[in-house]
């Protein structure tokens, strides 16, 4: 389909018309934090380089009831939570956040059974992206993918070219969206403007890395990890701000003879994540836990899902209270080993 443009002032009219048919979410500023939230829960803010939170909670909420139960004497009864049944559109999604969905899709579907509560939401959600004009200091999406020029998991994508947005559709759903009255065909000057914007954005970002090959020779005993362990606070900021992190805990909420089973976010950075009932912990210290995080994203994911577990959104880097920078850590890990002296060629 040919590209379209939409005047900036028409965006809210367009979104309002969509909101009649489905729930519409967008980056919204509330209490100083930008999050993807339903329109109306604050001021829409599209001039950002990444919301504080990724899309994660819209597909796997921080807390999600799996079912309810009640029991009386020896008998028990279950009541399932209804599956998600409403359509949604998430507008203004950054390319990194959209690309992360491809990874989480793989995680939640590679082994049967699929994670149905996740896919119920996923399949009812339309994603309209907004490409970055001015990537943040911590961004490195171009190094782990090429999402600015090769978008993933977006139905349509917009680029800010001044007083209007340049819009491209990538799916049939996207085409239908861009056929709304507010859009008109893009001209040659619009295409040129987009090219300029993209080039400028790309100039702020690093070149594509070679993690797929490099990860094969990561040093398990690298001195980086004991060093990181010293300063790592052991909080979950990195994991909970990450769009590809997907680990969860399953817990019980009991109230007398009824209650619910829920899942909630959890992270490999917490000590109890792998602690077994009888006291053994395969990842007993922050050394093992920081290594798990880096290896999971840059090595295990390539081996298991044939894709990187990091989309370079940079949130963990900018949010880490002690400046642990996964981009720098990986660079260090991938540094060619210093040539050893006087060793034969064996």
């Amino acid at each position: 389909m040919e590209a379209k443009v939409i005047a900036k002032q028409d965006i809210s009219a367009w979104l309002s018309s969509l909101a009649e048919k489905m729930e519409v979410l967008a980056p919204v500023e509330d209490g100083g934090v930008i999050r993807y939230r339903p329109l109306g829960e604050g001021e829409m803010n599209l001039n950002f380089s990444g919301p504080a939170k990724s899309l994660r909670d819209h597909f796997t909420p921080e807390t999600e009831t799996l079912f309810r139960y009640k029991y009386e004497g020896l008998k028990a009864e279950l009541e399932e939570s209804p599956a998600e049944e409403h359509d949604r559109l998430i507008f203004g999604v950054r390319a990194c956040d959209a690309a992360a969905l491809k990874y989480v899709d793989a995680v939640y579907s590679m082994v049967e059974p699929r994670d149905e509560p996740y896919f119920a939401r996923r399949e009812r959600t339309t994603i309209v992206g907004l490409f970055c004009n001015n990537p943040a200091w911590s961004c490195f999406c171009t190094e782990v993918g090429n999402f600015l020029t090769n978008p993933q998991e977006m139905d349509a994508g917009l680029t800010d070219i001044g007083d209007k947005y340049y819009a491209e559709a990538y799916t049939a759903k996207g085409e239908e969206l861009l056929s709304a009255a507010q859009f008109e065909p893009a001209g040659a000057e619009d295409a040129a403007a987009v090219e300029k914007v993209k080039q400028k954005a790309l100039s702020r970002l690093p070149a594509k890395g070679a993690h797929e090959e490099a990860c094969l020779s990561y040093n398990w005993d690298s001195p980086i990890f004991p060093e990181l362990a010293e300063k790592c606070l052991g909080c979950g900021v990195c994991a909970y701000s990450c769009p590809t992190c997907h680990c969860f805990d399953i817990q019980e909420c009991a109230q007398g003879k009824k209650g619910s089973r829920f899942r909630c976010w959890d992270t490999c950075q917490f000590e109890k994540f792998t602690l077994m009932g009888h006291g053994h912990n395969p990842r007993p210290s922050k050394k093992e836990r920081t290594r798990q995080r880096v290896f999971h994203k840059f090595k295990y994911s390539i081996e298991r899902y044939k894709m990187l577990g990091c989309v370079g959104c940079g949130r963990c880097i900018s949010a880490c209270p002690v400046n642990i920078d996964i981009h720098a850590v990986v660079a260090e890990l991938e540094k060619p080993a210093p040539a050893s002296e006087g060793v034969n060629n064996e």
Binding site: G32, A52, D57, T63, K231, L233, G234, D249, C253, I324
Partner: protein, 316 residues
């Protein structure tokens, strides 16, 4: 000699004399707008120590773990020395195991002050007489003090620390630029109902990453009440009640420990104004127990010392 130079010299002395095994200080971060905690173990590494407006972390959070491998020196700003005082009084560390390098700086940078800068282009951040200089390819821009510094620094008087082994910087008492408790006063204007609504809104953002707890030197429990999984004290869900319960309990547990260093609030990725709670608590502690956290080695620790006639009101 600059403060940074002086710090490096002192660190070298401490390490080469064998007085300490490690100096916990700040090193260069992954980008000039950031510094990062470093653990200096040899006199040579001491040249990696930096001291500039980005040195925000409260390094005393590392002490209970670090002293297990031998005597430690730690770089601490005035509010953070108070944390050491409380850690010693509460028997988490021994006074003789810690060499306190008390550093009085002009103030620490508030991240929001850099909002207008292209952070990739910032080359250096340094103190200037009237604020903070941000060096970019366009040259230096000076941000005035009241815009540049964190709130806690604007109200700092650099009062003499209760303990210090080495003092660096200007320790002449200064007039605060701001009232430390101005935001508590604003808060107190709210009705009980409004207060509840305010916190309910704030806590609804909480994702339970526990960055506040982990960054806090007062939160030193081996096992936090929320992490107990034999007997569940607090649910791991992020519902309103659970989040409320977590934050309120944590606040009660840091009574008499919270020195207002503000690291919990800075570490929070969701922008919850946690310092406000801490400050409110420290006012209450002063009112009820007549003491301020970390100001003296003699005052009994508020949380660790129970008396049958302790006042017991319910704070709003």
């Amino acid at each position: 000699m600059s403060m940074e130079q002086e710090l490096r010299e002192k660190a070298k002395e401490l390490l080469s004399s064998g007085k300490v095994k490690v100096v916990i200080g700040y090193g260069e971060g992954s980008i000039p707008i950031k510094s990062t905690p470093i653990f200096v173990k040899t006199p040579e590494q001491a040249d990696c120590l930096v001291l500039n407006p980005t040195c925000t972390n409260n390094l005393t959070v590392y002490l209970p773990q670090a002293v297990k491998s031998g005597p430690v020196a730690v770089v601490a700003k005035p509010c953070e020395v108070k944390n050491i005082v409380e850690l010693v009084k509460e028997n988490q560390i021994k006074r003789e195991d810690v060499t306190v390098i008390a550093v009085s700086t002009p103030g620490i940078l508030n991240d929001a002050a850099l909002a207008e800068f292209d952070l990739l282009d910032v080359k250096k951040i340094s103190w200037k007489a009237d604020g903070v200089a941000v060096t970019t390819s366009q040259g230096d821009t000076v941000i005035p003090r009241d815009a540049a510094f964190q709130k806690k620094c604007l109200s700092c008087t650099a009062a003499q620390p209760a303990i210090a082994d080495i003092k660096i910087g200007d320790w002449a008492e200064r007039a605060p630029l701001q009232d430390k408790f101005a935001d508590v006063e604003e808060y107190e204007k709210l009705s009980a109902e409004e207060k509840r609504a305010f916190w309910a809104g704030q806590f609804s953002k909480c994702i339970r990453c526990y960055a506040c707890r982990q960054a806090c030197p007062g939160c030193y429990c081996n096992e936090c009440f929320v992490d107990k999984n034999g007997q569940i004290w607090a649910s791991k869900d992020t519902g309103a009640e659970s989040n409320w319960f977590f934050h309120m309990t944590r606040m009660m547990h840091t009574a008499g420990r919270c020195t207002g260093c503000g690291e919990c609030e800075r570490a929070c990725p969701m922008g919850i104004p946690l310092s406000l709670m801490g400050k409110k608590m420290s006012l209450l502690v002063k009112e009820l127990f007549g003491t301020q956290p970390g100001e003296s080695m003699e005052d009994a620790p508020v949380f660790g010392c129970y008396q049958t006639n302790d006042p017991d009101p319910c704070p709003e």
